[in-house]
């Protein structure tokens, strides 16, 4: 996973709540067996509309998505995170993320930032008025900064440490091999098995 320390970029204001992962990446894209090449599928249905915010010339190259509440609901597809990253987004800001999407994003180095809806409103107003306005998401300081906006955000220390260092979860867990083996030795014999012992 790529480390995330701090990022500054232009924004895409997405004034929509309840953006589900079927909208972020429709199911027919899920037939791919790689983690890349999803950028053209990002918000595929909405992008057919020329007035959709992502299609605006001044939004090209933007790296910060400022979304409405309940972003990433529905399907567990990690492809939604890959599509956002493949497209070029480094961070997503919303007042509330769906649990599975949030977990997926943090495991891939896409920083999902929870801010109060009032702050999201301010970021929308700022970036709609000035498409060149930049937003800084600083994970070291746990702070989002933009013109006229300074807002602290929360992220648990463990997730922050993993993101700042770009650490791979599996190698961290495999350090606990002794604990896993010890737990396995205590499992009752009635627990289900998919294969004969």
């Amino acid at each position: 996973m790529e480390a995330f320390t701090t990022h500054t970029g232009r924004a895409v204001p997405l004034r929509r709540g309840n953006v589900d992962t079927d909208q972020i990446i429709p199911a027919h894209w899920l037939k791919k067996v790689t983690r890349d090449g999803f950028e053209d599928g990002l918000f595929e249905a909405w992008r057919k509309d020329p007035s959709f915010v992502l299609n605006q010339p001044e939004r090209q190259g933007a790296t910060v998505l400022v979304a409405g509440p309940d972003f990433g609901t529905g399907s567990s597809r990690e492809h939604a995170v890959w599509a956002l990253q493949n497209y070029g987004f480094k961070t997503v800001i919303s007042s509330r993320f769906a649990d599975i999407f949030r977990g997926n994003s943090l495991k891939n180095g896409l920083l999902t930032v929870v801010l109060d809806q009032k702050v999201v409103d301010a970021l929308w107003a700022l970036t709609e008025a000035d498409p060149q306005a930049e937003i800084t998401v600083d994970l070291q300081a746990r702070e989002v900064r933009a013109e006229g906006v300074t807002a602290a955000f929360e992220l648990d220390e463990n997730s922050r440490w993993r993101l700042l260092n770009g650490l791979d979860d599996i190698s961290i867990t495999l350090r606990e091999e002794g604990d896993i083996a010890a737990y396995e030795a205590t499992r009752p014999s009635f627990k289900p098995r998919t294969l004969p012992v």
Partner: protein, 475 residues
């Protein structure tokens, strides 16, 4: 200290707990399918890792599988490649696989319970959000992303922060003609698509206790549509009776030991939930969705709501956009909505009781002219059971299409899709824009409402058909 059901199951799976870190949780059962696993197996290959517990891992094919001509090569080369990738990965790593054509193939959340692999007090994960289904057995079951799939394959554990708990108590009895699907749609409409966010839900109360295992699965299945991490129901005699004798259920002394443990899996008297919701079952009636998220629903007897009456600005905007997408007018009676397609199936409502309920309504009736009805069993075994009961004949005689098992039109990854602008009554779980096909419009309904809708051609409940029933001769 008094604990909730979720806390008990969680505590029993903690491999490692340390201050300031997520708990490391042991996973009892890992279900795999073709869509969310290829990149995980790739990751294992790249790092030279093996599957740690092949005996706790099982795979099947469901999302991409066609429901017609399953003995022929899959027409879509991309779908075929994904299924072939799963077959290769399972062969290379030694994972048990039930491929298309196998008697145990089917929607992964129908297959696990049917084999008796889903058991009370277990942790179950799958790269699919509807893994919450398995919580009906008192298992802690949740959907995970592909990075976590790889993590479980490699370590049989997951680092997780413990969610909060929410009790959803359903008092009283469901009135006649009101099903588990109506209940869960009403619950989601009440608490909202984000209402369960950060919580494990425990469904409890008289109405829940009276539900069959399959109905409980319908309830827990849609926990994710309320934003919850998982949904659970305490195991009881209904659960034990369902499991007894299934291929992977414990036997002999193991059965006795298991039941003794399972009986401890109840929320203790005095245990505290972080949130509580109470629903009165007696006040419920058949429930359908009108919008583009599962929380946008109303009783079938109601009308399409007027967005102007919403106080919350973002909800008003969402309702306006939903009506526009759905092609509906505020104030239009829900019963007046005409459909083109009826879909009965999915991990929500593709089990034998669902097919029986739909068949019962269609017996000696016809699907309305111009309406296409697809009946897709949740698994090959459910299909066989339906055939042995003659349900396939009932569907065919009514004019419905009887298909092979899979996810099918629930998400339209296979050829079973809505055309742009087409409208469905669907027993599945998501009415998102384009979910069942680009531009498709979905109304979520119970199997009973689906069948009655197929007969009338517009959203209807079986009660609306009463007048159609032919009077028996001599009366």
């Amino acid at each position: 200290m008094a604990r909730t059901l979720a806390e008990k199951v969680w505590d029993d799976h903690v491999v490692r707990r340390a201050e300031g870190e997520p708990d490391l949780l042991f996973i009892d059962l890992h279900l795999l399918h073709e869509v969310t696993s290829p990149q995980a197996f790739d990751g294992l290959r790249k790092s030279g890792r093996a599957v740690r517990r092949l005996d706790l891992t099982i795979a099947t094919e469901d999302h991409n599988t066609p429901t017609l001509d399953i003995d022929k090569p899959i027409a879509d080369p991309v779908s075929r490649a994904q299924l072939e990738t799963l077959r290769k990965n399972c062969a290379d790593f030694g994972v048990r696989l039930h491929p298309l054509g196998d008697v145990e193939q089917g929607v992964v959340h129908v297959v696990g319970p049917q084999l008796g692999l889903t058991q009370p007090g277990t942790t179950v994960v799958c790269g699919d959000s509807h893994t919450s289904t398995h919580g009906a057995f008192g298992a802690l079951a949740f959907g995970i992303g592909t990075s976590q799939v790889e993590h479980v394959l490699a370590t049989q554990t997951l680092p997780l922060a413990r969610p909060k708990t929410m009790a959803i108590t359903v008092d009283g009895e469901l009135p006649d003609g009101v099903t588990a699907k109506d209940l869960i749609l009403a619950i989601i409409a009440k608490i909202g698509t984000g209402g369960g966010q950060g919580y494990i839900l425990e469904y409890r109360g008289e109405a829940i206790e009276k539900l069959s295992m399959e109905a409980r699965m319908t309830i827990c299945n849609m926990s994710i549509e309320a934003g919850a991490r998982a949904g659970m129901i305490a195991p009881d005699e209904t659960t034990f009776a369902y499991l007894k004798g299934r291929p992977h259920a414990p036997e002999g002394e193991d059965w006795d030991a298991a039941v003794a443990y399972w009986k401890t899996l109840r929320t203790d008297e005095g245990a505290e939930f972080d949130a509580e919701v109470v629903i009165d079952a007696a006040g419920l009636s058949p429930f359908v969705t009108w919008g583009t998220n599962p929380g946008q629903g109303a009783p079938l007897s109601a009308a399409v709501p007027d967005p102007a009456t919403y106080d919350d600005a973002s909800e008003r905007l969402a309702a306006e956009k939903a009506l526009e997408y759905m092609g509906l007018d505020a104030g239009q009676p829900l019963r007046s909505i005409k459909v083109d397609t009826v879909f009965v199936g999915s991990c929500t409502n593709g089990r034998i009781e669902d097919l029986r309920a739909a068949a019962e309504i269609l017996r000696s009736r016809k699907v309305a002219d111009g309406v296409r009805m697809l009946v897709v069993p949740g698994s090959a075994r459910v299909g066989l059971q339906a055939v042995s009961e003659g349900l396939d004949q009932v569907f065919k005689e009514a004019g419905a299409e009887w298909r092979h098992a899979g996810c099918s039109m629930c998400l339209g990854m296979n050829p079973d899709q809505l055309a742009p602008g087409e409208r469905s009554a669907s027993t599945s779980n998501r009415n998102f824009e384009g979910r069942q096909g680009k531009g498709g419009r979905t109304h979520l309904v119970s199997p009973q409402v689906a069948a009655a809708t197929a007969v009338t051609g517009h959203l209807a409940s079986p009660a609306d058909l009463a007048a159609d029933v032919p009077t028996p001769a001599g009366v």
